[in-house]
Each structure stands twice: as structure tokens, then as C-alpha cells.
Symmetry: C2
Amino acid sequence: MGQNLIYAVPFFGLIALAYTFIKSSWVSKQDVGTEKMGRIADNIADGAMAFLRAEYKVLSIFVICVALLMGWSGMQEGSSPLVALSFILGAICSALAGFIGMKVATKANVRTTNAAREGLGKALEIAFAGGSVMGLGVVGLGVLGLGGLFLFYSGMDGWSIDKVITVLTGFSFGASSIALFARVGGGIYTKAADVGADLVGKVEAGIPEDHPLNPATIADNVGDNVGDVAGMGADLFESYVGSIIGTMVLGAAFMSNPGWADQFDGLSAVLLPLALASVGIITSIVGTFFVKVKEGGDPQKALNMGEFISAGIMLIATFFIVKTMLPAEWTHNGITYGSLGVFWAVLIGLASGLLIGIVTEYYTGTGTKPVLSIVKQSVTGAATNIISGLGVGMISTAIPIIILAAAIIGAHHFAGLYGIAIAAVGMLSNTGIQLAVDAYGPISDNAGGIAEMAELPKEVRQRTDKLDAVGNTTAAIGKGFAIGSAALTALALFAAFMTTTGITEINIANPKVMAGLLVGGMLPFLFSALSMNAVGRAAMDMIKEVRRQFKEIPALTAALAVMKSNEGKEMSQWSDADRKTFEAADGKADYSKCVEISTRASIREMILPGIIAVSSPVIVGFGGGAEMLGGLLAGVTVCGVLMAIFQSNAGGAWDNAKKMFEEGVDIDGKMHYKGSDAHKATVVGDTVGDPFKDTSGPSLNILLKLMSVVALVIAPFL
Amino acid sequence: MGQNLIYAVPFFGLIALAYTFIKSSWVSKQDVGTEKMGRIADNIADGAMAFLRAEYKVLSIFVICVALLMGWSGMQEGSSPLVALSFILGAICSALAGFIGMKVATKANVRTTNAAREGLGKALEIAFAGGSVMGLGVVGLGVLGLGGLFLFYSGMDGWSIDKVITVLTGFSFGASSIALFARVGGGIYTKAADVGADLVGKVEAGIPEDHPLNPATIADNVGDNVGDVAGMGADLFESYVGSIIGTMVLGAAFMSNPGWADQFDGLSAVLLPLALASVGIITSIVGTFFVKVKEGGDPQKALNMGEFISAGIMLIATFFIVKTMLPAEWTHNGITYGSLGVFWAVLIGLASGLLIGIVTEYYTGTGTKPVLSIVKQSVTGAATNIISGLGVGMISTAIPIIILAAAIIGAHHFAGLYGIAIAAVGMLSNTGIQLAVDAYGPISDNAGGIAEMAELPKEVRQRTDKLDAVGNTTAAIGKGFAIGSAALTALALFAAFMTTTGITEINIANPKVMAGLLVGGMLPFLFSALSMNAVGRAAMDMIKEVRRQFKEIPALTAALAVMKSNEGKEMSQWSDADRKTFEAADGKADYSKCVEISTRASIREMILPGIIAVSSPVIVGFGGGAEMLGGLLAGVTVCGVLMAIFQSNAGGAWDNAKKMFEEGVDIDGKMHYKGSDAHKATVVGDTVGDPFKDTSGPSLNILLKLMSVVALVIAPFL
């Protein structure tokens, strides 16, 4: 029975990939629109692929070096050089998922714009279809890769289940490495392009960021895809496979128990996470069919519908799977567990994910009390806007942390450390549709930018804005979900780390552990500072390049001069000669050079954070011992989760505080509109919040999981 | 021999108090200056006493209630209702130290201004003398109170040393309660008055904050004293007595060892911290004699000289005291300790305090690389100034944390948990002169404000500015020192907590502990948000009161109208009638009402943070158990120290980034002056940094120590 299930798992992965193939073909068949639209979309697509190519070049070198190291380390007893294969495949699957997701996103964006020329319903359908390719691609490759490798290693002669799983762990490390590049590098890229394009407008040339004359504008739109599609995809791919592997390690521990028996050759606890993930693929696919909206409808409701239906079906399915697979009751290390307890743990995981999402929405959504408080404080200037935004971000950590703490205690109560790990799997089981909803956001964001750049009628932009507004909310919720799942995944890996090293206690009273806690807690602060400074430096590179282009490309120089001399006049009032000069500049900006500069800068800037993340567990583990490393992991998890929630929510709240001025907002009886002093203050807050929520916050997710995975990988040696 | 030493300790406390009496008399004898200066100084002094009166009213109620609770709790075995006496005395000593310090500071300020009309040397002497009253007052009352009570309890019939120390712990709790009110409430008051006075200027009436017409101006100057004199004094008083008591608890543990023998009735390890503190009083007094500066000299060097000489003498004295008092070697719980090891631990504490101070100076001082980076980023606007300031604050946590972690491991290596506690005592042994240097700052700050308000010649303000600039640097270093000592004190109390509850391990693998870590880590975020929001609300109250005064006090209304109609004109160009109207308003503003409003608001606002700080250990301890409480303490200590360093240094760096524009600063070859766009951006950063470094950051020191003390107090019950 066990063997049958092992064969079935990769099959579900293939189902997901078949879905992505069908959806991406459908998207490609949709109409692109005008010739100008097509050109812009091609520019964005080219820029996105340029970033990926540059990133993969550096990545390949990294992967080869680490694979060699892992292969060498795998030669010891209990492991195998094939761990290098796991590592390489984990990296390839993550990179492939990102590639597929980006490719379809950069096809879906312009087709969404085109559909928005007719109506809202089709536009949502295309944007969401694009997102679902990312979502199902990630879960499909994850299940296929993990399931396939597990199948392969299980067939190896003489390999114990412990050896199989140990060799499999490399897959998680491969996924984490890609996540580091994609999320941290991608995050720096995104913000550098955004800030650069912004500052070019303000400081250099007086042109707005979405203006076709702005050489940085394409890089900016590419950045949406790089950060929020590929980066988020890699982040969740890492959590997804990390939580599954962590659970498998803990499930294998049960097998050493005498009296452990099931219908699956004893592998039930090991296979359960894979089974849940596989079924999650189906429930996600089913959920996507419910995401539809009519003209004048609310896209938010459509997306919520899909997510809730998936969650509901998943819950019911989980009950039956757990009841069927696991023994009704068993004892391990003196503690009694039950399949019902495991179900409760999964439920706790699912519920926590949902609740954290709802709380995130409260602290960051337009019109909520916290966001309104920021709006109010903007009347007295930028400083009070910043102070209140920071306060909202800090206070927003309270409830999610209490939810997490309760989830940890609850899941452990019902099913021990295995319960905590399976709760993470439960939270992540619907990653397919969750990521689809996440990735939908940047696609509608791009669609809006394209509508602007192609100078389409106003109601097109209004429709894409409606989709985009919902996209901001889902992005914030998605970030909350990503942090929550990162925390549980880190803890699952932490539990696996302890099981592997054989440590049963990490005692805070041991000064080494206390020191580890302090240093671990400090790392998220260091990491945040490095990523934020990186954005500044990379943006500077971008601005220098833009200056160079305005000086050295004649068509641009001329067009800029013409714009400045006609300042204040509508374009219809310009002379014919001036208008000709301006139009001649169209497409002359060297967009790809900007993309190249930003790409190189972001990859250069993420090397130091990456080294810190990988080497600190190694240094502390081998220098201070496994207990100290445990302290380090605990410290980085606690502070990392807090800093991630703080920064992500502060950024989201600042963003929506600014947005509230779009239609004008009533503050204490007086109306304030876009362009007012209060609005200008919110622009400052939004600019500060950008690197918070798009670079620094997300990179902390990666930090804690990557360090946990590295610890798990070196655990056998400690 | 032990008895003799016990008698000697309070005597040293009396020496310190004698010194403060001599110095404060000397200050009072100095010349006040003009009649106007005297009036302004009286207003400030009255305002300061008004704040203290209002604060003490609420405090008394709190102290009585808690004393009753403690008296009742003391009735169990191993304790005594007299613990209520310890509590009350600890509160009284702390409050008295704050009172004396404030009273002399508000005398020293105007006399400093007057001395500055002649020269720099006398001005420094007066300002520093005022500061030294605060410094030696704190250590004197601490040593007198602790030493006296210890003497008293040791004389009680049938009391074991454990009972004596348990009852003594109440003194630390009393000190912590006052610190909560003084530092948190005082911090809110300080910033509310500062922000209110600022905004009145900008938003309401167009008058600057130091203008005599500004009703909030006196509250602002009072705030300097409330926050940086009394608040800092209470903070260090809490660390001072907390570290001593923590060490005494751990020292008592040695006495249960068979074979423990010394010349002090076995009390050597218990008395050592008191002995070091006593000697520290003498070395501090000696150091004060070296703080002198000639005309044209550098006040910074003078202050440094005093501190280093004190530290040097203390080190030598420590060696001999430790060698003389403690046995050369002894074994406890299987580990061998030595008096030399204890000396190394003390040295590590002293060195860490020094190093953390130096690192703080690097990240916050004028002209350093990090501060220059903020200045550079201010050219591109407020948002980039904020981002770089936040980055500097975050990255500045790295080295101090590594120093702390190394200190913990080192001190433990040489002398176990006792070593960590005695390292804290070592770091705090020179609190006398350290606090004198700290409290000197606000006195020179006030002196500058008085020079402005009394419209004295320019060179007076220049001299006081010179003193004040140094004061800002010492303030930042002092804050770094306060955080470092708070961390070690919290750990000392944490170790004492474990010893008292009998727990030998707090295991992170236990999900309760992990949950405790998470919730504990979250508390500093919550606390910071509450204190920052509190500043905003209290400032609003202030502004409403100022509006009311401008409407309802005829002389002010008239003067304001006259100012507005003469906008842009020098006062010499006004009509005689206008000038008369303006001068008639002098002193008509109801300064004390503003002080009262701000006081009430700040005390109201600190109730919730106070409740959270006191109740969370109680709830977690009794609800989740001692181990979970241990996790909570560890979490709040790690995150609290990080957030405190981050906020304190970010605030200091932003402040000095703004100051660099006073004389104009060269950025990439171009000069930027006060009033430039870049300068305006630094003003935004400075305004954000103010609550960071004066309210939120310092309140975290209190949070972690207060929670540790509460845990220690309830420890016998768990």
C-alpha cells in the first residue's frame, strides 16, 4: 500500500503541471491588443527574461559549487553523494517554477489590459489564470520533485528510511538557495527600479514613473513581476517543501517505535504530508473554478470565494486522509498520539493562516482604523505620518504572534512536535490557490501600467485599477500568510534539527544558548539594514544610468528639452515641431540597459546577506555546538517573524494611507485631496514603506527558513 | 569581619550624600544673573516640581496598594511582611534621588547660563556639579538603602541569609516601580511637551518653541529635566540596585556548599557587590575632581578624563577587594570557581560598558560615517533620510549585541552565573560619575534655552551650545551604557529567578517556552507602539490647551495678532503701541497649566504599558508555569535590548545629522546650509527620532528589568 501511494504522489504533481499547461495555453491564445500595447508587453517580457538570465548565470555557479560540497559531504555514513542530486533538483524545480510563472505573467498582463477595454469579467479571468499558473506550477513541481525523488531513493538497495529522508533534505536546501536569490535579489531589484524610476521623475527630469520617456519605467514594471511573482513563488515553494520535509523527518522518528504499524509499510506518518499536499493540488484547482466576477461585481469576493471553497474541501479531505492513513492511536517516547490529534493539528495550522491573514487585512486595509490613524497624523506632516506608521506596524505584531504562540502550544498538545510540523503543512496545503491569488496582483498592476503607457481610454485604467486595488489587499494578506507559514516551517525544521542531532533540550540557562539567542535575534536587524541600504545603492546606479541616457541619446535629450520648455501646457497646445520631436523619442530609451544595471546591482548587493545567512549557522554550529545553534535559530525565528510582520504591515498601511487620498478623504470634517499637504506626507510614508514591505520584510522570511535548512543539513555532522 | 563590613556599607552611602549636600550648597551659592533669568528659572523649577508632585500623588496610591499586596504575600514561609517595608523604602529612595537631582538641576541651569556670560570653565563646573548631585545621589541612596536594610534584616532573630535576601528583593521592586513612572511617564511628558511646543510654533501661531509667548516653552524645558535627569536617574537606580540584589541572591547560593569558608561569616559572595558599589562611590567622587576645562578647551575631554580615571582606579580597587574577600578557589555544583575568575568577570563587565559606549558614539556622533550617510541621503528628500536612519539604527545593534554575547559567555566561563551578575555590578560600579556626565547634558541644554529666552548676547549662547553639543554625545553614550547595563541586570535577575524557583533548565524544545519566547519578543514592539502613540495623544492635549490660552487670555491674543500683522518686520520697525502690546504679554502665558496638562496626559498614558509590564509575568508565570515565564523573560530581554539599541541610536543619529547643518555641510562638493531642502529632510528625521530615543527606547530598559524583577518577586510562589 505504501508503494502504491508513493507512486501516486508524483502523479498529482503532473496533474498540477497539466493544469498550468492548459491555463498558459489559454492565456497565450487571448488577444494582445494594439501594436503599441504589444510592444510595451514585449519590452516588459524581455526585461523579465533578462533579469532571470542574469540571475540564473550567478545561480548556476553557486549551485554547482554547493552541489560539489554537498556531494563530498554526502559520502559519510547515513548519507549519500546523491544529496547533491536532491540539491540540484530542488534548485531546478524552484527556478523552473519561477520561470514559468514569470513567462505567463508577462503574457497575461497585456492581455488583461486588452480584456479591460471590454469589461471587468474577462480581465479578472485572464489575470487570475496567469496567477494560477504560478500557483499550481509551484505546488506541482514541489510535489513532483519531492515525490519523484522519494520514489527514486526508496528504491535504492539497502537504504533505510532515515537515509532516504536525509538525502532528500538536499531538495529543501536547493529550494532555499533559489528563494534567497529570487526573494532577496528580486526584492532589491524591485525596489531599486521603483525608487530609481520615481526619483528620475522627481529629481532628474520631472517625468512621472510610468512615462514612456522614462528609461527606468520598464525596469519598474519588470520589478513587479520579479518581486511579487517569482520572488513570492520561490518563497512559498521553499516553505512548501521545507514543511513537508520537516514533517517527514519527524514522521520517520515514529517508525523506530516497537508496535508502530499501519497499512503503508510503516511509512504513513512520512507519507502523510505528501498525501495532504497532493490533495491540496486538487482542492486548489477546484477552487480556481469559483473565481469569476460579473461586470460591476467585486473582484475581492470572487477571489475570497475560491480560497474559502478550497479551504473547506481541504479540511474535509484531511479528516478522511488522516483517519485512513494513520493508526488511531500510538505511543512514542512515552507520549500517546492519535490520528484525530493530527487532524486537529492540521486544522490549527489552516485556521492560524486564515486568522493571520484577516488580522493583516485589519491593520493594512484601506479605511480601517489603524490606516485612518495614519491618515489623520499626516495632516501634521511627514514626521507624524512616519511615527504613526511605525506604531501601527509594531502594534500589528501582537495578535499574529499570540495566534502563532497558541498554534504552537495547541498543535503540540494534539500531536507533539509532529503536530507543529503537520500544522505547517496544513497551513500550506492550499498554496496552489493562495499563490494564484497573490500572483494575480502584480499582473493587474502591470496591466494598469500598460494601459497608462499605451495611453488607452480612461475606463480601461479604471477597470485595471479596480483589479489592482484588490491585488494590494491580497498582497498584504499573502505576505501575512507567507510570514506565518515561514514561522511554522522554521519551527518544523527546528524540530527536525533537534531530532536529527539527538538533542532533547536547548537550555536558555546555558550562556552559550543565551548568547546564541542574542546573536540570532540581532541577525534580522542586520539583514534588514543591509537590504534597505542595498536598495539605496542599487537605485543610485539606476539613476546614474538614466542621467547618462538623457545626456547621450540625442532623441531623449531633445524630447526632454521640448518637455521642459512646454511645461504647464497641454500637449495639444504644443507646436507641431515639438510634438514630432517628442514622438520621435518613443522607444528610443534603452530600457534593457536599465534592466541590466538594476539586475547586476541587486545581485551584487545580495551576496553579503546571502553569505551571512548561510555561514552563521555553520560558524555557530561548528564553533559553539548544536545547543548554541539551537539558540541562534530560536533567536532568529522570534525576531525575524516580529520584524517581518512589523515591516510588512507598516509598509502596507502606509501604502493604503496614501491611496485613501485618491478620491479625497474627510479628516475631522475637512476634505483633503491628492496633492494636498497631507497627501504629500503620505507619499513620504509610502516611499519609506516600500523597501519595508517589498525588500526587507520578505527577505526575513527567507533568512529564517534558510538558516533552519542549513542547520538541518549540517545536523548529522554536529 | 562580616558584621564590620555590613556596618561599613551604609557609611559609604552617607559619604555620597554628604558630597551631594556639599555640591548642591555650592551650586545654590552661585550667582543667578539678571532678574529675567531668575524668573525664567523659577518657572522651570516650578514646572518641574509640579510634575513631580502630580507624579508622586499617583505613585503614592500605587505604592500603598502594592505594599499591601506584598505585605500579605510576605506572610508565607521563607519571607516576611517586612518585604513591604523594603518595597516602600526602594520606592522612596528612588523618588528622593530623582527629587534631589531635579531640584539641583533646576538651580544649576540658570547659574550655568550666568557663568557662561563670563567664560566656559565656570559654566562647565556648575553644570557638572549639578549633574554630580544626581549621580552621587542615586548611588548614595542605593547603597544606603540596600546596605541599611541588609543590616537591619541580618539582625532579625532566626532569619536565614536566604530569608534576608528574599525580603530585601522588595527594594528592587520598589525601585523598578518608580523607574516605570519616571522613565516611561517622564519620557512621554518630555516628548509631548517637545512636540507640542514645536507644533504650536509651526501649525498654530508661527512662533518658535523657545519663544516666551509660547505657553508650552516652559513645559519643554521642564521636560529636559524630567526625562534626562530624573528619568535617567531612576533607570540607573533600578539597574544599580537590581544588579546588586541579583548578585546577592546568587552569592547566597554558594553558602549552602560544604567547605565554603571565608573571613566574613560566609557572607563574602553576598557582600561583594555591596563592597564594590561602596568603593565605586569613592572612585566616582575622585573622578569628579578631574572634570575641569580652560577657556577654549574641550569639555568632552574633561568629561572623558573624569570617567576614565574613575574606571582605572575602580579596576585596581576591584582586584584587591575580590582577592581579599573571596576564597581563592571553591567548588559549587561540581564547577570550580576562583576569586581571580570573579575579577575577570568584573573586568569583562566594565570593558563591555566602555566598548558599547564607544560603538554608540561611532553610530550617532556628528561627522561619523553612519551619520554622514544619513546626511547624504537627505539630499533626495525626507523618505530617504528616514530609510537610511532606520538602517543605521538597525545595523548599530550588531556590534553591541556581539559584545554582550561575548561578555555573557566570558563572564560565565570565569565565574558561572555569579560571574554574569557580578559583571553587571562591575559595569554599574561607576554609575556615580557616569550619571553625573549624563545629567550634565540636560542642564546645559536648559542653560541654552534660558540664554535664548532671556535674550542674552550671542557669545553666551555659543558657550552653552558648546557645552550642550558635548551633552548630546554623552547622552547617546549614556543611553548605550544604560541599555547594556539593563541587559546584564535583566540577565542577573533572570539567573536569580532560576536559582529561586529551583529550575535548572528552560528548554526551548518545550513549546510552552517557545511560545513564551515569541510573546516575550513581541512585548517590546507593543510597548514601543504604545509609548509612541502616547506621545502623539499627549501632544494633542498640549496643543488644545495652547489654542485655548491664545483664545481666552486677552494679552496673548493681542500679542499674537500684533506679531502676525508685523510679520517679516524686525521688532525695531514696529510701532510703539505694537511693541507695548507685545511686552505686556510677557509672563502672561499660563505655563503651569501646560505643565499640568502634559503631566496628567503622560501619567494617564503610561498606565496601560505599566499594567502590561507588571501583569504579563504574573499571568504567564501562574498560567503557564515557571519555565514558560523563563521563556517570556528571555524573549523580552533579547528583543527589548535590540529594539532599545535600534531606537536609541537611530534617534541619536538623526539628531546629529540635523545638527551637522548648523554650520553648513559639504555633500559631494556642494554646500548645504540650515534651511536648505536637505536640512528640512533632516528635521523630519529628527522629529521621528525624538520619541525613539527619549520615550520608546528608554522605556524598553524599564520593561525588561521590571518584568525580571516581578518574576523574581513571584518566583517563590511558582
